[in-house]
Amino acid sequence: MWTYLVRKMISTIPIILGVALIIFVLFNMIGGDPTYQMLGKHANPKLIAELRHEYGFDKPKYLQFVNYLKQIVTFDYGRSYATKQKISSMIFNGVEPTLSVAVPAFIITTLMAITMGLIVAYFRGTWIDRIVVIFCVIGMSVPSLAYILFGQYFLAYKVGLFPISGYESVLPNRIEFVLMPILIWFSVSLGYDVRFFRTAILEETNQDYVRTARAKGLSETKVLFKHILKNSMVPIVTNVVIEIPLLILGSFLLESFFGIPGLGSITIDAVHNSDFPVIKAMATIVSILYIFGNVATDIIYVFMDPRVSLK
């Protein structure tokens, strides 16, 4: 098991290097020199030279790349162009607000979707199944922006059920600010999830062991909840675990609409301010988290599915 773990960790190195290379090529080579953008109309050759030196753009490309790798390892991404804050502390401060929306929303949505997926799988082929699937497809087709605008305008502004936007760092007061984003997150992703889980569960129903279980006279409920659910847990858990690192992204749009000072807001502000290093740092960090999420999925696979060998 340990050798497997170590091997898995080593296998991430070329991928992390690849991600670093892509991001570096994008930002430091294709993107050209951001100093012109930063200085705007105040630019003069002396200022540009100073700034280029400050950010290390005057160094050869390979040294810049080494420097960037150093940033990844030390988690020190320098300072934001726009706010002059340290990027690492900006990101640390953004994690909690993001997670206080993302984690409850993710848990509620996943549990609800699995339950509905099971119910629908139980009633497969009947009108209940058809109606739920139709609603899922309709829900998936509504643009997520429409959910946000409708919620903010109608439920918060007109009806006054929720605050329009804002955030409170004290915990009990925070709840009322995160409720609305959680609700919208739930509405946006429920359709996708129910449909995915339904397919995952239904794919198992055609397996031989299900026929065997039926043949030996088990009730449909027992076949579904005991045999099918257990086996369909493999794709379900994979799907769930792989999404966990992405939670840190939260929902960009939700955060910026509801004034939640999380990582999504930081990224969107950075886009609006042309804040190169912040976008670069966010892209790097989230990608690395995602890669480790993949490793975690592989490891969970080993525990859940005895057919997967450690070789």
Binding site: V137, S141, A146, V271, A283
Partner: protein, 288 residues
């Protein structure tokens, strides 16, 4: 002689099954309708005067004429015309990004699956790497680096959305390369190029078609989000820009710009969703 019952090819069979699904055919016509509108708008036959002031600002929807059907925006321009122009943008984004990503996905997937070995390892490494960067971050980074505008959106969506297709095509090529018809072609002296593109590719091409409908849909959705973030279309109406405008208009009770853009997007995405599902069922022989 040769009195065999005439069989159906994969394509005929798929078409036959697709035609039986009346609702899917209807959804296909909806997509065709959108495409038609986009073409008509492109050649300037309809809604070419979207940029003209036709009345006061923020006139509510009325049925007195087509122009006023969805009211007017802040400059007194017809929202209905803007929705049509937005259709043009959305359709072109779907089409162009697919034209960029499909050749990439097919070639990389085919080469990796066919040759195997170190070629395969490099391609797999490459697409694992690209797919490790969350799509939205990559889209933002590319459009940010390339600068605002429609061209950046085409490129960003094109170079990010080939991965799923490459994976599928690679898997199919691994399956097909040792089949008898390929070996037969080889013994007749077919080159690698001819085996890949003339013999195997036609047999796996239906995965490209299935992928196309999914990709079209995600491209339309991504365009809206990017334009909304200010990274997309500049100086011409798009659904994303319209929804972005609506953010400030809603507080004044102006809902028609949001409703128009949302509804236009909703129906085409819904149609693509349903049609894409039926297409997969019809063309993928495994799920019979």
């Amino acid at each position: 002689m040769n009195e065999f019952p005439k069989g159906r090819s994969l394509w005929e069979d798929g078409l036959y099954r697709l035609k039986k699904d009346k609702f899917a055919v209807f959804c296909f016509y909806i997509v065709v309708f959108y495409a038609l509108i986009a073409v008509l708008a492109k050649i300037g036959l309809i809604a070419s005067s979207w940029n003209q002031t036709i009345g006061e600002a923020y006139l509510p929807p009325s049925i007195m004429s087509f122009k006023f059907w969805l009211g007017t925006d802040i400059f007194g321009r017809s929202v209905f015309y803007k929705v049509i122009q937005g259709t043009r943008v959305a359709m072109s984004v779907g089409l162009v990004s697919a034209l960029i990503s499909i050749p990439i996905g097919v070639c990389l997937g085919a080469v990796a699956g066919y040759f195997g070995g170190w070629v395969d390892e490099i391609v797999v490494w490459f697409y694992t790497t690209v797919s490790s960067i969350p799509n939205i971050m990559l889209l933002i980074a590319i459009t940010f680096v390339l600068g605002k505008g429609l061209a950046s959106i085409y490129i960003a969506l094109g170079v990010t959305s080939w991965i799923g297709l490459a994976r599928v095509i690679r898997g199919e090529f691994i399956k097909h390369k040792s089949r008898e018809y390929v070996l037969a072609a080889e013994s007749l002296g077919a080159s690698h190029f001819s085996k890949i593109f003339k013999h195997i590719l036609p047999n796996v091409f239906h995965f490209v078609i299935i992928n196309l409908s999914i990709q079209f849909m995600s491209a339309i959705k991504a365009e809206v989000i990017l334009s909304f973030l200010g990274l997309g279309v500049q100086g011409q109406p798009s659904w994303g820009v319209m929804i972005d405008d609506a953010k400030l208009e809603l507080a004044r009770g102006v809902w028609w710009q949001l409703a128009g853009a949302t509804a236009a997007m909703f129906f085409v995405v819904l149609a693509l969703n349903i049609f894409g599902d039926s297409l997969r069922d019809a063309l993928d022989p495994k799920i019979k």
